[in-house]
């Protein structure tokens, strides 16, 4: 789950992290009210993706009339597929410096990493490439959390290449100890895989304020954060954070299927993530283009197979389907029954190519043959055949 900026900031504020005063506006009139109350404000599109500034989704306005005009413009926007349903109107800050503080997963170290840099306001990945010496990292002990001395080391290291801030280092470091401790608490309590403040603004009066907020919760931990899910679902502005998502992927989630929508026209179904990825690779190797990735998982029954086939065929681009099954705990006969049921119930006339091996392979093959579906000898032959069959009439 990805929280919107204002939702992330609510969590930051609850943890004692300073954020600019702000109001959510769903209409230009609400933005006017926010401007009357707060004065000079930034009007910011609430969408669950980055790059909205570059897309024109952020405006700084001095008057209520400008707030109305800019809010109306931004609320009519669609940023990379995500319709803007609300804007966050917050007090402009008097900025002395833009820093960066973020927590994410470091796969190589298999720990969280806390990243601090005095070069805020741009993508941290870009800083990592252009000026890696300006980035400082800390991998906190997963049980003890980051200790103050470690955070001081992090802060001193991150400020070492910022001569413009030299006079302010002592105060900054002590403020960062508190802030980093709190941000780490937010990250761990919310199972965040990304928890980022960029920019972290140093104001002219010496405050550290979170001028933006990014929070993404680990999907595997969604069950522990039903309150967040409910809030996202309830808040029409959030629309579960997925408003701009691919409609086929939204449908697959409803059906409980692991599915990724792609650009091609050959439907792909497999069991197991690696095998399904390999199914796509085989299609491509033989000159075809996969339309999707659909992993039916282990031990799928006939109904799940039927559901999967129906899902893949919802995409009208699909010209045929390659079903690739290794029978371990998944049984060939169950898969065959699901395929046949789907074909008969859904009146599928597009080509289906099935490669099946392992548990109950013979039974499955016999069922398919009896139903007029000739199983392929192996995965390579299956890939060749589906590419050939779907090539007919392709331009």
């Amino acid at each position: 789950m990805k929280l919107l900026e204002y939702q992330a900031k609510q969590r930051f504020a609850a943890a004692g992290i300073s954020v600019p005063p702000g109001r959510l506006a769903r209409t230009p009139e609400e933005a006017v009210a926010a401007a009357l109350e707060l004065g000079r404000i930034a009007v910011k599109a609430q969408v669950p993706i980055g790059g909205r500034g570059k897309a024109g989704g952020i405006a700084v306005v001095d008057t209520p009339e400008e707030a109305r005009r800019e809010a109306a413009r931004i609320l009519a926007m669609d940023i990379r597929g995500y319709p803007v349903r609300s804007v966050w109107c917050e007090t402009g800050l008097s900025i002395d410096a833009e820093l960066y503080l973020g927590i994410t997963l470091d796969r190589d170290r298999r720990r969280l990493v806390i990243i601090f840099s005095a070069a805020g306001g741009m993508e941290i990945e870009q800083v990592a490439v252009e000026a890696p010496e300006r980035i400082a990292k800390l991998w906190p002990d997963p049980f003890a959390g980051p200790q103050p001395y470690e955070i001081r080391q992090l802060a001193f290291a991150g400020l070492a290449h910022a001569p413009e801030l030299r006079d302010r280092v002592p105060k900054l470091v002590s403020a960062l100890v508190m802030l980093t401790t709190r941000l780490h608490e937010v990250a761990t309590s919310l199972d965040a895989v990304t928890c980022e403040i960029n920019p972290l603004v140093l104001t002219s009066d010496g405050m550290l304020v979170a001028a933006d907020g990014k929070l993404e919760i680990d999907e595997n931990a969604d069950y522990r954060h039903k309150d967040v899910a409910e809030e996202l679902a309830r808040d029409e502005t959030g629309d579960d954070g997925r408003s701009g998502d691919d409609p086929f992927e939204v449908e697959a989630r409803k059906r409980g299927l692991t599915y990724v929508h792609l650009d091609g026209d050959i439907g792909c179904i497999g069991n197991g993530a690696g095998l399904t990825m390999n199914t796509l690779d085989l299609v491509k190797q033989h000159g075809g283009e996969p339309a999707d990735f659909l992993d039916i998982g282990g031990g799928a029954n006939a109904e799940r197979v039927r559901n999967a086939l129906e899902m893949v065929l919802l995409d009208p681009k699909v010209r045929g389907v390659f079903i690739n099954i290794f029978g371990g705990i998944t049984r060939g006969d169950e898969v065959a029954r699901g395929i046949i049921a789907a074909r008969d119930q859904l009146h599928i006339t597009k080509p289906l190519v099935v490669r099946m091996t392992g548990t109950m392979e013979e039974e499955g093959r016999q069922l398919l043959q009896a139903a007029g579906i000739v199983p392929a000898k192996d995965a390579t032959e299956a890939a060749e055949r589906i590419v050939q069959l779907t090539a007919v009439g392709r331009t």
Partner: protein
Amino acid sequence: MSVLVDRNSRVVIQGITGREGSFHTAQMRAFGTNIVAGVSPGKGGGDQDGVPIFDTVADAVAASGADVSGIFVPPAFAADAIMESAASGIELTVCITELIPVHDMIRAREFVIRTGHQLLGANCPGIVTPGQCKVGIIPNHINTPGPVGIVGRSGTLTYEVIQGLGQAGMGQSTSVGIGGDPVMGLSFPDVLQRFADDPETRAVVLIGEIGGSDEETAAAWVRDTGFDKPVIAFISGRTAPPGKRMGHAGAIISGNTGSAQSKLDALSAVGAEIADTIEDVVRLTAARLGTHSR
């Protein structure tokens, strides 16, 4: 010979009374695994098809001398089960459970390391030493003893390779599934080291996939240690688009890291044979072993 598990392994199953746990316990026993105990809190004193059940892993270890654990408990309880296992002195904990929150796994992994024991997984198919011991869910009938060590992130692709090699007359010393999560226990170098130390393992098949940089790390390890057994590498997800999670939590290309090409390049640079298909894996392995494909 074998790595990590063999006929002397004494196995306890955590979550033995659950749907998955009970089904696979029967499968593992049919394979010949010496399952000495099960754990199901609150059901201690009972039995599962003759396997005594205990309330805690500590009780199970005390009564049965178990030294390997297989975990089949639901994701919300799995990290705790891992820590309980390692804290009770279990030397190798194999966690099959999928969908464990990553923050839980970071802590559980660290916990196991501090006990000095080993963790395999989670989100993995487990481990099998043909003819001796299986802990996990790899199908029984495909395994035959032989000279090939297999280590892979993907379950079903590992099965494909085991079956393909078997049909060509090449068995395995041990097949190890390290799992599809971004934070896991044993990783490629840990398993490769064991294959290096095992005289019966004459070639290694490494099955990687997009996401992270574990395959690149494996390549660096091969280079740095001078690992001299043939490595046949297969990487799935060559056609996967960036930013999309392909089934496994760890199978995602993020920014500049995790592409199949980067992994293929790294492995190829240290002398690994690159297989484009499962058939290639079989052909290349046979060539390196000097045996004829049947």
